[in-house]
């Protein structure tokens, strides 16, 4: 799994270097390719889940897990980012709102820019892009070191799409299902929590 982490980092770095050297003028082409790859990936994840007969019988036993994990990810992200913001000397409302982006960089940045300040929106954007990249790199290691359910946490809202394939590869079918539900619930929470938390500072 450490080699998996290395492969992930190498592929992203290789792509970034090529992107820097030969920047694409029309980023919509890349957006289209990424969306296509994601659709294919999720079809593949769905195929693997669907073929697992044991999964459907064990779904009933998921119970509290599908609530405990999203609540844990949400609370942990906000508290963790707030503590990091305290170390950096940032206002609590800004760091908490950035943490509540849960990796959904486009939406959290737009929400913060619109109701608060463009500079903080830019920080939210980059911070949540980095969260997604860090998550991709460390999920395989987290799964081994801290357990399968903990491996759902780093991805946040992206556990339903971008980081789902890595979670599926690093854990089991049951955890993949929990990850998907967690990602959906967190995605629904972003448009509510980000404006709420940023508003605590009075703007």
């Amino acid at each position: 799994m450490v080699t998996m982490t290395l492969k992930i980092i190498l592929l992203v770095v290789l792509g970034a270097v090529i992107g820097l050297a030969l920047p694409m003028q029309d980023l919509t082409v890349l957006d289209g390719l990424i969306s296509t790859a994601l659709c294919l990936l999720l079809f593949g994840v769905g195929l693997s889940l669907g073929r697992d007969r044991h999964l459907f019988s064990s779904m009933r036993s998921l119970g509290r897990v599908v609530l405990v994990v999203p609540v844990g990810v949400a609370a942990g992200s906000i508290i963790g980012a707030s503590l990091a913001g305290f170390v950096l000397g940032l206002p609590l409302n800004e760091s908490a709102a950035i943490g509540a982006g849960f990796g959904w960089y486009s939406l959290s940045a737009v929400l913060i820019s619109r109701v608060y300040a463009v500079e903080v929106g830019a920080l939210a954007f980059l911070s949540n892009v980095l969260r997604e990249l860090v998550a991709l790199a460390i999920i395989p290691w987290i799964a081994i070191r801290f357990g399968y359910l903990a491996a759902v946490a780093p991805g946040g809202a992206t556990a339903m799409d971008v980081t789902l394939p890595i979670i599926a590869k690093s854990t089991d079918s049951k955890t993949t299902l929990v990850a998907f539900v967690t990602g959906v619930l967190l995605s629904l929470a972003v448009p509510v929590l980000v404006p709420l938390l940023i508003g605590l500072g009075g703007g």
Binding site: I18, L42, F43, V45, G72, S127
Partner: protein, 96 residues
């Protein structure tokens, strides 16, 4: 987002109904591994090609990384602790 859910559900149905011939049993693994590597490379290219992201890295990079690390560590620790407190262990959730 809707499209992604449609593809996931389509895969679930095809897999559950066992419409995939046995000789294609390796297909899901090939799709997820190949697709994943393509996705990672393309995401890297997107970051490298985006002048906005590159500029922001120089301005906010350090702060953004500390905030991202805080959120990742905080969320992982919270789920790890919550799973233990609620007694929700399970496959792979034993201490390493």
């Amino acid at each position: 987002m809707t499209l992604l859910v449609v593809f996931l559900l389509a895969g679930l149905i095809v897999g559950y109904q066992q419409w995939l011939p046995d000789r294609w049993a390796k297909l899901p693994g090939i799709i997820t591994t190949g697709g994943l590597f393509a996705l990672l490379f393309l995401m890297g290219m997107q970051i490298g090609s985006s002048s906005v992201v590159i500029q922001e890295i120089f301005v906010y990079g350090g702060q953004a990384f500390v905030l991202a690390a805080g959120a990742v560590v905080g969320s992982t620790a919270a789920v790890w602790a919550a799973v233990r407190l609620a007694g929700l262990g399970g496959s792979g959730d034993d201490d390493a």
